[in-house]
Amino acid sequence: MAAPYEAIVIGGGHNGLVCAAYLARAGKRVLVLEQRDRIGGAAVSEQLFPGFTFSVFSYVVSLLRPEIIRDLELPRHGLHVLPLESTLTPLPNGDYLAQWNDHDQNRRELARHSLRDAEAYDEFGRLMHLMSRAIKPILGMPPPDPASLLPRDLMGMGRLGKYFRDLGAERFHALHKLLTMSSADYLDEWFETEALKATKSASGIIGALLGPRSPGSAYVLLHHYMGELDGVFRAWGFAKGGNGSVSTAIAAAAMSFGATIRTNAPVSQVLIKNGRAVGVVLNDGEELRAPITISGADPRRTFMQFVGAQHLPNELVDGIRRFRFRGTSAKVNLALSEAPNFTCMPGVGAHLRGAISISPSVDYLERAYDDAKYGEFSRRPYMDIILPSMIDPGMAPPGQHVMSIFAQYAPYDLKGGWTDAKRAAFGDTVIDTLSEYAPNLKTSILHRQVITPPDIERMIGLTEGNIFQGELSLQQMFFLRPIPAWARYATPIEGLYQCGAGTHPGGGVMGASGRNAALTILGKMK
């Protein structure tokens, strides 16, 4: 009897769903197995308090690939990405720094802090635009392995080489700096306003146990501008209904092509016969077979749990052991009876429709990191905050609000281990810190959810709670993600593939890993 499915995808995270959708679109019979009672993984919306919808984990769409939006017709399946209008950085002295979308408004605000920075801003933006254009094509292709002599890798390297040659000196030098410098140092070359440097450098530390002065953190700055390149696609913004609607739109597309999605279906292992993956076993012992199995879970879970070291070459096992997770990010989700009132910019206004960044200075961020270096959570954490209900009124009852606080650092390996008391203490620290800028916050909290890295691991299976399925640091990117020989979605087990954020190009609600994996698999199925 022919197996009813041609491919099984483990994990209904957005990458697993993208992969399934592309396979189904190509006419393959695909089954997605998700352990939770809902799909989405780290891109999920849940009504945790009556009337209030939380983007539980990820909260903004960063780099969702436009080709995926087009190929899967995600708008038709309900995706509506709304603009985030600004970034507000409140300062301890009662002032603020705001970055606005409108050029004149932004320039005027920056000039208040530094006339030089107001000028540099545009030039910086231009260079980053050019750089991200140069880098962008790499996102859409399986990374060529520079150590390989296979024709496909040589051709891939050749194409990359041409990109770099075509960059010209200005961009090549900038790229080199971005790859080697810390974000703080890189920004020092451009700007003098502390809050501006800090807020910009924060994008280089998201999800990593790195500080703004750690080398290599500069590269991630580029990712920010890559979103802008796809500006018209609003690859950067807020998904109406929360980030779960990215997943539900992808799932709807997948189902429209005939894919089957099963929730409450935790996979315990991949079935391996004669060195080949032939399907999966669920926790309850049910066996499901298919000639192709694709894991959307992270590399450690995929190789160490689903496959097992005994089936794998030693280098791979070593490589996976060394692959760094070290989750450091936490989430505090609040239901509020009223909008927060920031002392620096009182009232309800456009600033509440953008991001609010608690990053007054580079020192502030670096100190937050120092705590984590020694196994403590930050006494004064970095925070990236949005108020989804200010952007989409459907997220909370009229006049009330939901607040999403992404906070760092809360290291997975907390000294003494995480306990309920420590979780509560971290939640208090976040709220106390934020209340210094918005004093009405504390009294308006109706419900609070604090999620630490161990919670992330427990809830959605992300090893060590790393939000990107493995740190997005340079030694773990491109042809090194997750490990050198197996960075092209395949694995040493025939018939087994990977499609999660733990593969190139990595984390974020981007879908690129899922798409690249599907195209690779379809290429082989032909």
Binding site: R70, D102, F233, R234, K240, P393, P398, G399
Partner: protein, 396 residues
């Protein structure tokens, strides 16, 4: 002021941070309130947007023969309407060419309000010859707002004393807002859930304030013509002087359009005993129209390639454009697009186009002219059925 302020001007002028105004029938109309129209657009699809639509021409048609007059003028059947019905309809000259389009609302057995884009008093009076009917131009006495978007109903339900809950698409109800009488019709120019609120001009400011106050908790934003233009293109709704030329203004034969050529066959009721243009329309119906008014979608890859070829990231038109853009089938000109732009919701570059019938079938692949870095290029476009966007909430 040479350009007339609407009764809402004391409020809208304060809100108009962009100072971007345009003319609309001799009135000042905000192009956008904020520095960019982006959020105003998204408010239409995500929350609610409030438009000042006072510059529409409004006529009160009253009397024993009111329905007969309107049935003589417009192409749809007015006699069959019930009180509370609203009709969207074009009207034609004797050649069956469109003069204007607007709505007819039946406010009472013998009382109607006609809205139009251009002045029509003289035409109505001329057509009323021998009929027992009074026609008043109430354009200045009646102020109007459109509240459009998914939260529009919730906002109005906070403010009105009933009538809104079950109000169906293209129905109208008489109710009040904070004690001020209004008529609310479930109509609009966005293709979304939406309402239009008709009021006496002296209540305009109080009603505006009430809406702003309640709307604040529902994501409502006052919105201008840039945002509206994008939404109406997505909804496939045509605009006079942009997508077609009124038969009143056409200087040459080829500038005229029949309802059939504007995709309005559904509005032409040839069962009616007689109306202006009927004979010509019956003949055209048998013949089939020479032109059709359709949607086209620009093929992204072909569009992007044109920009990549000169080393640029693709640049889509934000805000929407209004001009005539040639569309080709190989060496032949198949027609022309008249409005187009980037749909932030659908993530597509869309346009409304007039095509000769042989090229107008959905799925037909054509080429549209565009200018990339000062050079004329062509991008592939595909003919699609209008509207581009048609959410279930519009009708339910």
């Amino acid at each position: 002021m040479i350009l007339k302020p609407t009764p809402f001007h004391p409020r809208t002028s304060v809100l108009c941070e962009s100072h971007a105004w345009r003319r609309w029938s001799g009135y000042l109309a905000a192009s956008s309130y904020e520095l960019s129209h982006e959020r105003e657009y998204h408010s239409i699809r995500n929350a609610a947007a409030l438009f000042d639509i006072t510059p529409l021409y409004k006529y009160r048609v009253q009397g024993r023969d009111a329905a007969r007059l309107l049935d003589r003028v417009v192409t749809r059947n007015v006699a069959r309407t019930k009180v509370g019905d609203v009709l969207y309809t074009p009207w034609c000259d004797h050649r069956g060419k469109v003069l204007d389009d607007g709505t007819v609302a039946r406010l009472g057995e013998q009382l109607f309000r006609l809205t139009s884009a251009d002045p029509n008093l003289r035409w109505l009076e001329d057509c009323a010859h021998g009929l027992d009917v009074d026609i008043d131009d109430v354009s200045e006495q009646v102020a109007a707002l459109a509240l459009q978007g998914p939260t529009a109903r919730a906002i109005l339900m906070q403010l009105t004393d009933g009538g809104l809950e079950g109000l169906k698409f293209f129905r109208l109800t008489a109710t009040s807002i904070r004690g001020m009488p209004v008529e609310i019709s479930r109509t609009g120019y966005t293709g979304d859930l939406g309402f239009e609120i008709w009021m006496q001009a002296e209540h305009a400011l109080a009603i505006w304030d009430a809406l702003i106050e309640v709307g604040a908790n529902y994501g409502m934003a006052p919105a201008g013509m840039f945002a509206l233009d994008v939404a109406r293109i997505e909804a496939g709704l045509m605009l006079i002087d942009v997508d077609y030329v009124s038969a009143r203004k056409a200087l040459i034969e080829s500038q005229l359009s029949s309802p059939f050529e504007l995709d309005l066959a559904w509005t032409v009721n040839t069962d009616k005993p007689s109306f202006v243009g009927k004979e010509a329309l019956v003949a055209e119906q048998a013949r089939g129209p020479a032109w059709q008014f359709v949607g086209v979608v620009v093929d992204w890859d072909s569009f992007e390639r044109l920009y990549l070829a000169v080393g640029l990231a693709p640049r889509v038109p934000i805000p929407a454009w209004r001009m005539s853009v040639p569309i080709f089938s190989g060496g032949e000109q198949a027609g022309y697009a008249t409005s187009g732009g980037w749909s932030p919701l659908l993530k597509k570059y869309i346009a409304l186009a007039h095509l000769q019938s042989k090229w107008a079938a959905p799925g037909t692949s054509l080429e549209m002219e565009l200018t990339v870095e000062h050079r004329r290029k062509r991008a592939i476009v595909t003919v699609v059925k209008k509207p581009f966007f048609n959410p279930a909430r519009k009708r339910t």
